[in-house]
Amino acid sequence: MLSASRVMFGHLEDVVMSNLLDLIIAGLATGAIYAIVAVGFTLLWQTSQTINFAQGEFVMLPAFLMLAAMQVGAPFWLAILIGVLLSMLLLGLGFKILLVDPMLRHGVLPLAIATMALAIGIKEAVKQFFSAEASPFPSVVPAGDVTLFGRHVALQSVGVLALAILAVIALTTFLNRSSIGHQMQAAAQNPTVARIVGVPVERMILLTFLINAVLVALASLLITPIYLAKFSSGEVLGQAAFIAAIVGGFNQVRGAIAGGLLIGVVDNLAAAYVSTQYRAAVPLILLIVIILFRPQGLLGRPEERTV
């Protein structure tokens, strides 16, 4: 009886399994993008106590900068370069000098509120100067399927995942192996001592803002072909990155990476197996549970009190 049912349902199981694999790979791909955004988010928090409520809008904007560059005739590769540079200028340098520096001494909350206002400003500016409609965006990864473990998987997912993993590896290598990376970590962990041993703390903080700008531009490049370029797309993205950062650990780069991947997979599986209506609720419930029972995040350290 049992073996008969196994023969009968073997094919069905196969379909479910392949579907599951697809879902997990697609989830890892979006999750890797969330991870990139979440890493930038935690970097800003670590070095300058900035809770950037505009992080989602930071991801939305570079795609429009690239689209604008293409509209004036730049080829795709040049548009990407212009987009990244403009992003470093506006979302890195400009954000730090015009908003964070003057607000930082006032404490965490006013700065967080100011970034909320900034999010509104960016959204409205894009709506006004570009378009309120969703625009298509060219993909850096060609369309089509690849065969992986004997199954067909969308090249888009695999390519995005590979690029995101490369970026994360490059960043962690830079932070953990290079001298500048060590200085950045020192500046983040204990600015006073770092200053005493000769680390140019101010320059390191600026560097984290520039790295964040590059990360959001990269995330923008990877995610916009999937979800189209729209002024309001930052809301969902920003929230996903938030949740990823907290679930993984607010004060750990590797925590943010793990959190991003986890949220991407959980989100995709919830959409398939829980309910499409409440898919957004699953990561939120995960967030609440984590905050209540392990507030430092899955991989985070408990935050030390600074007096």
């Binding site: 809770i51 965490v108 909320m116 409205e124 006004q128 907290i246 609440i288």
Partner: protein
């Protein structure tokens, strides 16, 4: 604020009240709608000011409580209940949910709490949108009746505006009384130095939950007025951005200042109307104005006023000191 003599403050208050009653009499329907909205949002922001400004707990869920209140009012009044009963339901519901939501506040602080309430806010929105049997989902609830107050129908815009204004007056006096009561002082103690408050015998657990619950209940009161004001509700106005807007109102007006929410709500509700001539640019200008204000004065508009008054006070005091000193010197 204490530098202004008391009789002047009372006179100023009376003038503002009279202006709020008399001037809108010849406003058109839209102007009255905006003013009513200002009154409603001020009530919600006062609740958040109690939680944030006085008790020091960051909440990103006030918009969700306005939503819960609005849905409670819409569902009960469309099935024939009077608005006052709906108000009771909304207050009890929001107080209870706020109390439960306050529990994370006991375990985690600051930004973590902000994220818990942010998650709650989005969850509440999902419930409004998906539970069709209760909230009619994305189609929303229409034909919400306006109440009769002491036999007066408030179907026309002006009487309904007076209802909103009267409610604002009642809430204002209640909050005024509350923050001068031992409770209010305990809230401030909680914000300023929780450890010391605890060592002085204040039950910080209970007061933290209380601050959350009362603030949330005021959100529910605002929602109860919001539903009959618009006479149609759907989930969209109660998404996360309402919570963020309310938080901005409190901070921009001046968190922890009694009249902060009045000013903050005025800027958030009326400024976009005044900037309407700039067409699509008004929200951009609003964002720039908020950032500029926060850079100039992180304690909000009333923070600027407070600073000016404090400076004048020190000037007066030092002038008096100088006079006293010269008298001492010229005395033989």
């Amino acid at each position: 604020m204490t530098a202004i003599p008391k009789y002047l403050r009372i006179a100023l208050g009376l003038v503002i009240i009279v202006v709020l009653i008399v001037v809108p009499m010849n406003f058109n329907r839209y102007g009255l709608y905006i003013l009513s909205q200002w009154a409603v949002m001020t009530i919600a922001a006062m609740g958040l000011n109690l939680t944030l400004g006085y008790a020091g707990q960051v909440s990103l869920a006030q918009g969700a409580f306005v939503g819960i209140g609005a849905y409670a009012a819409a569902i009960t009044t469309t099935s024939g209940w009077p608005l006052i009963a709906a108000l009771g339901v909304a207050i009890v519901l929001c107080f209870a949910i706020g109390w439960v939501l306050g529990y994370p506040a006991l375990r985690v602080q600051h930004h973590y709490l902000a994220f818990v309430t942010l998650a709650f806010s989005t969850l509440a929105f999902l419930v409004f949108r998906n539970e069709d049997w209760l909230t009619k989902g994305i189609y929303g609830i229409s034909n919400i009746p306006r109440p009769n107050v002491f036999g007066f129908a408030t179907n026309r815009p002006l009487p309904f505006y007076y209802l909103c204004l009267g409610s604002l007056g009642i809430v204002t006096s209640a909050v005024w009384w509350l923050i001068r009561s031992p409770w209010g002082r305990a809230f401030v103690a909680l914000r300023e130095n929780p450890t010391r408050a605890l060592s002085l015998g204040i039950d910080t657990r209970r007061y933290t939950l209380m601050a959350f619950a009362i603030g949330s209940a005021l959100g529910g009161v605002a929602g109860t007025l919001y539903a009959p004001l618009t006479q149609y509700i759907d989930p969209v106005p109660f998404n996360l951005s309402l919570s963020l807007d309310l938080l901005m109102m409190v901070i921009v007006g001046g968190a922890g200042f009694f009249f902060g929410p009045f000013l903050g709500a005025m800027i958030a509700v009326l400024l976009p109307e005044w900037l309407r001539f700039t067409a699509g640019y008004y929200l951009m200008l609003y964002a720039v104005a908020v950032i500029g204000l926060l850079i100039y004065s992180p304690t909000g508009i009333l923070g600027i006023l407070d600073r000016m008054l404090a400076e004048r006070r020190t000037k007066v005091a030092s002038a008096l000191r100088a006079v006293a000193k010269s008298r001492l010197e010229t005395a033989p």
